[in-house]
């Protein structure tokens, strides 16, 4: 069999796996969406209020916090993974939580990674609301509450873009969740292609392991799903950016 034949067969088989709603692939996709989705929701609940506090209030340590967020935006995922692993292993300071190699640990890892991104991008969107517009709120008799409401309305598309940027980053991330999640799946009784069910195996971590096992068709199927998800998120983000 030539290389192209081999690839061609792999792609055909990948589509078969997707179309037949293969349970193993489905369960991996489900874990990915659940982990990254939950992390994005939790990160959003932290990041948006934080961005508004940073934009509207003056307090000591604000500049330090902004510097921390800027650093956090570029945090290497493997570093976050390593740090969390040290904290969560049974002998670690938070070992009693018994969280290592669980979906919860993965959610925490992605939360740490994307909260700074959503905060930073939202803050930029909030700051981009023209100052004269906020002054208009005040001159027309509004108070600080009205100023915040107007800012949310004016910056809404930028804030949605920030959330989607966080989600996209979480879905595509592999280093941190591989370390703290362990890429675990229950294998099926036969152990053939596309058998078993994911526990902490996501699209990205599965692609690494399936590729190294030379399960090319499974890896390609996972890759197609991952790219479709990330692409959808990006198209949505683009749409909202254009509306701004």
């Amino acid at each position: 069999m030539s290389t192209t034949d081999f690839l061609f067969q792999g792609i055909i088989r990948a589509f078969e796996l997707i179309i037949s709603l293969n349970p193993y692939i489905l369960s991996i996709t489900g874990v990915s969406i659940k982990v990254s989705g939950t992390a994005t929701i939790l990160a959003t609940l932290t990041a948006i209020p934080l961005a508004f506090i940073l934009a509207f209030l003056h307090f000591r340590g604000k500049q330090a916090l902004i510097a921390l967020i800027n650093t956090g935006m570029g945090l290497p995922p493997v570093f976050v993974g390593l740090f969390l692993w040290i904290m969560l292993v049974p002998a670690g300071p938070l070992g009693f939580l018994r969280m290592i190699f669980t979906q919860e640990a993965m959610i925490v890892a992605q939360y740490i990674l994307i909260t700074p991104i959503i905060t930073g991008v939202s803050l930029a969107a909030i700051k981009a609301v023209p100052k004269p517009l906020i002054e208009t709120v005040y001159t027309l008799g509004g108070d600080q509450k009205d100023a915040v409401i107007t800012t949310i309305k004016e910056a809404r598309f930028g804030i949605i873009t920030a959330i989607l940027a966080g989600l996209g980053r979480a879905l595509a991330e592999v280093g941190a969740i591989l370390i703290v999640g362990g890429n675990i799946a229950r294998t099926g009784s036969i152990g053939g292609i596309g058998e078993g069910l994911s526990e902490t195996r996501t699209l990205t971590t599965a692609i690494t392991s399936e590729t190294s096992k030379a399960e090319i068709s499974t890896a390609i199927a996972l890759g197609i799903i991952l790219i479709s998800l990330v692409l959808t998120v990006n198209i949505l983000a683009n749409f909202f950016q254009k509306r701004d």
Binding site: L133, E135, T136, T139, T150, E154
Partner: protein, 240 residues
């Protein structure tokens, strides 16, 4: 005539830069007072101080006999139309209704008042249009409607016609006169358009380099000003 706003010995500096110096000014209820002066003389800064966006370095201000404490209460009795109006990314109706909504006016009354304000500025029937799609002249007139819709006692206008064509300038000037005559609103207008001052002002203050060199009735200023620099500025002889 009774006074509405009194400013005494007011000075303003941004860092080292002195922008207004020892301003004494009394604003009378129901008048149209024009503040004229070349670019950079401090007109916008003065209006921003009157609307509490800047805190003067020193001096005292009294509004309607009261010392200024509760800024928000006094601010709600006035309105500042910016040199370049900022527009909310909503419909014309929602833009104009804004000042009424934050005052908790009920829906029926809002609809009525917005309708009246839009008809004053000649934008009736455009309620539903997205405000950001208005032409420059229309946007200026919408901002005007938004500023007068809640019947402010003082209307501060910062070069309201600077970027408009003659037809729109005439419309705005007409609106300014009508607002004063029909609603009794006190109006302070900053401008460097001297023919406009001749057309609409009752009194004129001349601001040069942050110093209010003369405040007088319009007739007096144009016929026989007290200060030689006033005459030079009005006649356009002053080179800046």
């Amino acid at each position: 005539m009774d006074e509405l706003f009194r400013i005494k010995d007011l000075s303003m500096a941004f860092g080292e830069k002195v922008v207004l110096e020892n301003i004494d000014l009394t604003i009378r209820r129901g008048e149209i007072l024009a503040i004229i002066g070349p670019s950079g003389s401090g007109k916008t800064t003065l209006l921003r101080i009157l609307n509490f966006f800047e805190k003067p370095t020193c001096g005292s201000m009294k509004f309607d006999g009261m010392d200024i404490r509760e800024i928000n209460d006094i601010r709600r009795r006035m309105s500042l139309l910016f040199q370049t109006p900022a527009i909310f990314n909503t419909s014309v109706f929602d833009n104009v209704a804004y000042g009424l909504k934050v005052r908790g006016v009920d829906k029926k009354a809002i609809e009525k008042k917005v309708g009246v304000a839009l008809s004053i500025v000649g934008l009736s029937g455009m309620e539903k249009q997205k405000a950001c799609t208005l032409s420059g002249g229309e946007a200026q007139r919408m901002a005007f409607a938004r500023a007068i819709v809640y019947d402010p006692e003082i209307l501060l206008l910062d070069e309201p016609t600077a970027s408009l064509d003659p037809a729109n300038v005439a419309k705005i000037e007409d609106i300014i006169r009508r607002v004063r005559d029909e609603l009794g609103t006190t109006i302070i207008i900053a401008t460097h358009n001297i023919p406009q001052v001749r057309r609409i002002a009752d009194r004129v203050g001349i601001l040069l380099d942050g110093v209010l060199i003369e405040v007088n009735d319009k007739e007096k200023i144009f016929a026989a000003p007290d200060d030689a620099r006033s005459e030079a500025f009005i006649k356009g002889e002053m080179v800046y």
